[in-house]
Amino acid sequence: MGTPVRILSVGAAAPDLRLPVSQITAGWGRPGGRGRVALCGADEDALTLAAEAGTRAIAAAGLDAAAIDGLWWGTSTPPFADGPSHAVLAATLGLGGHSGGALLSGSAHSGMEALLAAADAVAGGAALVAVVVVSDSLLAGLGTTFEHRAGAGAAAVVLGTEGGAASLGARVTRSAPLLDRYRGAGDTATRDLYDARLFREEIFLPLLLEVSHHLAPFDVTHWSLPDPDGRLGAVLTKTLDAPAAVSASVYGALGDTGAAAALLGAVPAFDAAGTVALVAYGGGRSTGVCITVDGPIPGAAGFAATIANGRDVTYTDALRSRGQLVPAGEQIPMGVPPESAMFVRGAEEMLELLGARCVECGVVNTPPSIHPACIGCGADKFEQVSLARRGTVHTFVINQTMPAPFVAPLPIAVIDLEDGARVMLQVIGRGDGLAIGSDVELVLRRYAYERAVPVYGFKARPLSTDIGSAEE
């Protein structure tokens, strides 16, 4: 072993929406269905979830993003099959143009691959500080058994060589070239299992039991175990003769979070001393790693609240959010295409929420690229600043009449930020309870998806109202 790898902090994020399983079964004309799964709204994806979890972990570590040497991101649902997924996430986390790291993708096992690749980079001295983000927004094929499990979520940890409250320990990995839940190269959604019994008896259990047994001797106090169908997790736990997996509560709140599952499922155990065994599975591979927790990991408190918030929606809402129910006819295209020079000039300032603070009078001009002269005094010397992420609503509207691809109701607010800047941004949610004076925080969301390019920017999320409390 090289340099010890310490976990400095943790962060997590869950999407805005929840889909009750009873809605799914009713959508197919069947009764019953228990529990709910997390669902990305039309403006969320694996990257926006990753951005939120990563931002929280970096803040909990008390670090400047510039101190981070690399980003390791594991997801089976990156926004581009081949494109700047990693570069966009690195930019919005504030890592700057020098960051190293990697995007690990290809199955739900990618999350664990990202964690271990980052750990190895730190252990080997290639990085002093690394941020690991694991996220997924699973899309199950319509009518497949996985529809009842496919969920979404993200977790992130900051790794370093010293300090922190936990360390990575023993690991074991096994690989078998066998099919589990899979999505072909041209598919948008996961295909169904061919034979559930075959999967359970010959593919899943043998591999998972072997990996789990190798970790069992390490005085494991908590287990985070894969549970792709809502039953296999319990079977594993029973066979290991272990207490209920700590990951069960996360699966119960969010469903299967794919590449995020192993780490996200362990977070409930990060608030006290213990030894947590994380087991990941996907793409025929399974890897387990032990994390020794010395004390509460910064950022772990409040995790239960993070995953509990979410607004229940109907099956039809879900189909629209996931882009599986699309109106026929023309959509209004963006005035300036996302591949254009405008986006080259504007990429950094949109992803990092930059403003130009006038050196003469202090007014913040947003965005910088279209303000060669200060709107306050006309001077032309500025200091680039990343705007505050908290503020209050100065005034707002709720737009009820929108053409496709927009979705009404669409709240838009003029926000006074804590640093004195002012912006106008879309507001997450339906605008219920939004008022002049409402406190908001700014989070990354996907504003548009056009010509296969996601356009990301910040939106306001109300803090004073609990969006997820009422069932719709």
Partner: protein
């Protein structure tokens, strides 16, 4: 002393509405012929030396290659010096101002100002709502036209206690006036309850708080004041005008209870005309939304800041009120074919000052009428023209 170097000797508009059966060119010709016909002593089209055309959209509305040369050819004066003026919603009023300056410069003695707009060749979705995807991909995404004014309503209600009923009273008054205007798009009287019950468009604005999409055209004929007597014994003079700009993004506004561009443009116009707001007998102001008229009457100095809602509800701006506003029915009822709007407002002022407004005629005590538009990205440009019979 007022400027008064230019006289308006003819003004007219065609009936506004969804004119599917008329082309852009046919609408323009209708307005032009009517304006020529409105000149007391007559004018021949060969006397026109220059033309200024106000059309805001043009090519985006299915018209191929709208430019300065489209209109002269269409209305029988091809060869005439012509420029297309575009300044957002104030395009018509700005074309009027530019036309007046052209006459005052001494280069042209007789000038046509014509506003034409074809909005209904495209669907509501493609033509109007597509604005939501134009502009900045983040900072103006979702910004349809109501988003430019609705946040002012929210703030005005918060600071001054303005209510939805007060907003609605503006629409009720303007529909009442429009019912008495044969050129109006909408001629139905409505009630406050009708407005409150209409479908929400952009909170707090509902459907009847919003102006319609309208096709239309209007034209005015301007001549050097020294030659006005050749065309009429009752000229109306351009007493003054003002134009002002403000920042184009809503997050840059210094206030959400008034439109700075209007206040500054009005200040300039009153100064040039040498008068105070109280001397205005009636005004055609920009009521693209009910809240906008409330802001306008405060910004133009007719009503104390914050009292615009109460004044409207109390009838101060009705045909028989202290300061009649939008006797034509305004943009809300008469309609808002963007480029034509300002020129049509001038026409109403011209009729009022000459005692020709028929059922809508108000008492003219001082001989001054004001015309105003505000619009553009973030309501960042306003034009005010003041007309007078006094010389």
């Amino acid at each position: 002393m007022a400027w008064n170097r230019v006289a308006v000797v003819g003004a007219a508009l065609i009936k506004f509405g969804e004119l599917f059966e008329q082309s852009y060119e046919q609408m323009a010709s209708g307005a032009f012929q009517a304006a020529l016909g409105a000149v007391d002593k007559g004018m021949d089209r060969s006397q026109i030396e220059a033309a200024f055309v106000a059309t805001q959209r043009g090519t985006l509305w299915g018209q191929e290659g709208i430019g300065g040369n489209t209109i002269p050819s269409a209305i029988g004066i091809s060869g005439v010096a012509c420029t297309r003026i575009e300044n957002a919603c104030p395009s018509g009023s700005d074309a009027f101002r530019v036309g007046a300056m052209a006459v005052a410069s001494g280069v042209y003695d007789v000038v046509l100002v014509i506003g034409v707009e074809k909005m209904r060749d495209k669907s509501t979705e493609e033509g109007l709502l597509s604005r939501a995807a134009a502009g900045h991909p983040i900072y103006t995404r979702g910004e349809t036209a109501p988003v430019l004014f609705a946040p002012f309503a929210t703030r005005h209600m918060h600071e001054f206690g303005t209510t939805r009923e007060m907003l609605a009273s503006v629409a009720v008054k303007n529909h009442y006036n429009g019912a008495r205007d044969p050129y109006a798009h909408f001629r139905n009287e409505i009630t406050i309850d009708d407005v409150l019950a209409s479908p929400p468009v952009c909170t707090p604005l509902h459907l009847l708080d919003c102006c319609p999409q309208t096709d239309g055209a209007a034209a005015t004929l301007l001549v050097n004041a020294e030659r006005a007597h050749e065309f009429t014994d009752d000229p109306v003079y351009v007493a003054g005008f003002g134009v002002a700009t403000d920042h184009p993004y809503l997050h840059e506004k210094s206030s959400f209870t008034g439109l700075f561009a209007t206040t500054l443009a009005a200040e300039r116009a009153y100064k040039m005309a040498g008068i105070e707001p109280a001397q205005i007998d009636c005004a055609e102001v920009h009521d693209c939304f009910t809240i906008t008229e409330i802001l306008d009457i405060e910004d133009l100095g007719f009503v104390e800041k914050g009292k615009g809602g109460i004044a409207s509800l109390d009838g101060e701006t009705s045909l028989t009120g202290r300061i009649p506003i939008n006797t034509s029915g305004g943009l809300l009822a008469k309609g808002h074919p963007i480029g034509a709007t300002g020129v049509a407002q001038i026409t109403e002022c011209w009729w009022q000052l000459r005692g020709a407004a028929e059922e809508r005629q108000v008492a003219i005590r001082n001989g001054y009428a004001l015309q105003h538009n505000v619009g553009g990205r973030g309501s960042g440009v306003s034009v005010v023209n003041i007309l007078t019979t006094n010389r």
